[in-house]
Symmetry: C2
Subunit: 219 residues, 2 copies
């Protein structure tokens, strides 16, 4: 479920020096920023280097090449994503669990919008860098997640919604607030989405989706 990060200079004995760790992190952070703003092709190694406060050649020292750096960034992102979804179980109360999940996803959209955007652009343009991520393992994991909703349905706790489409609705509606923030701001006359805006959005989603699935809120 995680991608290979080709850090070609990892001499097996040493556990990565402090200076290496610090630089790698700075580079990845800068790269995340730039990739999110300009896409893979639109970002130059030079820009990343400047933004990280390092000379360009150093990037090539830490990461074999541009693609390697990009994959490292993606990998860093994906670790964050899966965790939230894994907390749902068949034994949970649907209202409580879904509310918690939607809140978590909205919080993620608020705090890590760049991560969401890089992932979105990668998928939109074919997602070839994620081929190994969408492996057999991932399909199995996804089925397992869908099974939780099916269990709720079988237990009569919610309407017989196709779990797969419900997942896409959850993903699409929450990520929209990260990926399309620019449009949302322009259209509503805001300059940025505040914490309050995001909470309101979350509350709305929770209302519509829970009620739409025939789940009675506990409050």
């Amino acid at each position: 479920m995680s991608l290979e990060v080709p850090a070609h200079n990892n001499h097996a004995e040493k556990p990565a020096s402090r200076i290496r760790q610090k630089n790698e992190q700075a580079i990845i952070q800068a790269a995340e920023d730039q990739f999110a703003r300009h896409g893979y092709k639109g970002t130059s190694m030079n820009t990343i280097a400047t933004s990280a406060g390092l000379p360009k050649a150093n990037l090539h020292y830490y990461f074999t090449n541009k693609l390697g750096l990009y994959v490292a960034v993606l990998s860093n992102i994906l670790e964050l994503w899966d965790s939230a979804f894994n907390t749902l179980t068949a034994d949970d109360d649907p209202a409580e669990a879904l509310t918690r999940y939607i809140r978590a996803k909205m919080e993620f959209s608020r705090r890590q919008p760049q991560a969401s955007r890089i992932f979105a652009m990668e998928i939109i343009s074919g997602g070839e860098c994620l081929t190994e991520y969408f492996s057999q393992d991932y399909r199995a994991w996804f089925s397992g997640r869908a099974a939780v909703f099916q269990a709720w349905i079988d237990a009569g706790k919610m309407d017989p919604i196709d779990p797969v489409h419900l997942i896409f609705l959850l993903w699409g509606s929450t990520q929209h607030y990260a990926d399309f923030a620019t449009q949302i701001c322009r259209v509503t006359g805001r300059t940025k989405l505040t914490k309050n805006d995001m909470e309101d959005a979350g509350t709305n989603l929770i209302h519509i989706i829970l009620k739409g699935c025939g789940i009675k809120p506990p409050f």
Copy 2:
């Protein structure tokens, strides 16, 4: 509400020759394909030219530069988008009108996924090419659309959902099936989304959103 298309060789008297019209269309079509697959920066004029069956220099004859061509493509796309949303009115029956709208958006996601993807990538990367599109006019238009939902709420036809967030839910959930088709296919083991898949998805969305908004379906 529409963008300027800088076709610098439009001598005011002539209404664009047949050959010009044909070539421009071929170029725009090829450009749409390439921009959707590789983004703005990732697409080269050369690739577009080859894909359109013309020498590279011809593109520069018809469109001042790469950005001009890109804006022409975007403009072409946006004309399609607004029309569907304009059909909703305060007098409509919410169930019928929303059902029709969701079906229309899903049909658009199915038939013009590239258009949706270009728009998405443009927005994600800041949407600077759409600055004039998101003008005062557009904000007014958007408010007008939101007012339709508010009218339904005031008439007691649906729950007091924030109309603005409802619109984002409608946009996000339907466009997700165009923009993230790659992920959906990989995760569900499909090679492409069929007409049936898209209809199922639409049916699900209609169920959840209508019920979630407290709208009684007429069927």
